[in-house]
């Protein structure tokens, strides 16, 4: 069920042993008409893709610290180099954990304050719509996407959090009232997603790729992130 228009954009989706939501990230990419290019953790080439998605899962089992081991995978060295040169990179869930462990984004993602895996449909506010990953959203838009993780609590030193807030680098924030909505895991400042200074490296704990079709997700609110990226790729 891919979109008919092929935009020519090529977006890589990395698979580590233990990656789970790579098929979903690839599907979301295809929904936009772009090509999803499978990337294998043990390779070092990104096959010239225009952007990379680090999907969710439990890469290497995540027994140590979520994302800790994947951050050392061969392909991540290339991802880190290319990201520093401006390659758009999106980390989702485990991908977020990997990008922080790899030092591409500040802070860490830790065990939920409730100490349990939590799967629910979660309301988020899009806090910054001027990035390659969020340009399709209205400023302040609220979206409903699945959340599912055991380690989703965003933590960083106070100065780091202040810097993120100050530079508008908090991309998504948990919203709504407890107990059914609101901050699900004790993340500082209700932070659900952040980005790099230039907005090209972004990550969030909830799963936009699982909200691209109301048949299999709560909404199609998540598609906007992938369409935003494709827009930006087509502009250049």
């Amino acid at each position: 069920m891919t979109s008919s228009v092929n935009t020519g954009a090529r977006i890589g989706v990395i698979t580590f042993p233990g990656t789970l939501d790579d098929v979903d990230a690839a599907r979301a990419v295809r929904y936009t008409g772009a090509e999803a290019v499978p990337l294998w953790h043990a390779d070092d080439s990104l096959q010239g893709v225009d952007a990379v998605i680090v999907p969710g899962g439990f890469s290497y089992g995540d027994y140590l610290r979520a994302g800790a081991i994947s951050a050392h995978a061969t392909i991540m060295r290339t991802v880190i180099d290319e990201a520093r040169k401006g390659l758009p990179v999106l980390g989702i869930c485990n991908g977020f954990q990997i990008l922080t462990e790899a030092g591409l984004l500040p802070g860490v993602v830790m065990r939920n304050s409730g100490l349990k895996f939590k799967c629910r449909d979660q309301w988020l506010r899009v806090e910054n719509t001027n990035t390659v990953w969020t340009s399709r959203y209205e400023p302040g838009a609220e979206i409903l996407v699945p959340l599912k993780n055991a380690e989703g609590r965003y933590v960083a030193l106070p100065e780091t959090v202040a810097e993120l807030e100050g530079e508008g680098r908090v991309l998504f924030r948990y919203v709504g009232d407890q107990p059914r909505q609101g901050n699900p895991n004790g993340s500082l400042n209700d932070i659900a997603g952040i980005c790099s200074a230039d907005g090209r490296v972004a990550a969030l704990m909830p799963h936009p790729e699982h909200a691209i079709d109301a048949l299999t997700g709560p909404t199609d609110d998540g598609l906007g992130m992938f369409l935003s990226l494709v827009d930006s790729l087509l502009k250049v």
């Binding site: 290497y60 089992g61 027994y63 140590l64 081991i69 050392h72 995978a73």
Partner: protein, 79 residues
């Protein structure tokens, strides 16, 4: 007031998936000198002087460790 450290480790005959995963990563990242890794839990407790070694033993076996698959070691630190 005393500080107590409790180290909880999985019994040696029982599989430790975490250690297995770390050992693999160490191999891939150029540390072949590490031949064996077991991951366990580490607890730092602050206890007041009323707490006996027996009580610590009870706490370790009932709350900190799962006696079915784990063993533990309790160390009082000089405060």
């Amino acid at each position: 007031m005393a500080r107590v450290e409790v180290a909880v480790v999985i019994k040696s005959e029982i599989l430790d998936p975490q250690g297995k995963a770390i050992l693999g990563a160490l191999g891939r990242t150029g540390h072949p000198g590490i031949t064996q890794v077991r991951q366990g839990k580490h607890f730092d407790l602050e206890v007041d002087d009323s707490v006996t070694d027996e009580e610590l033993e009870v706490i370790a076996s009932s709350l900190l460790a799962n006696p079915v698959i784990e063993t533990w070691e309790i160390r009082r630190l000089p405060s």
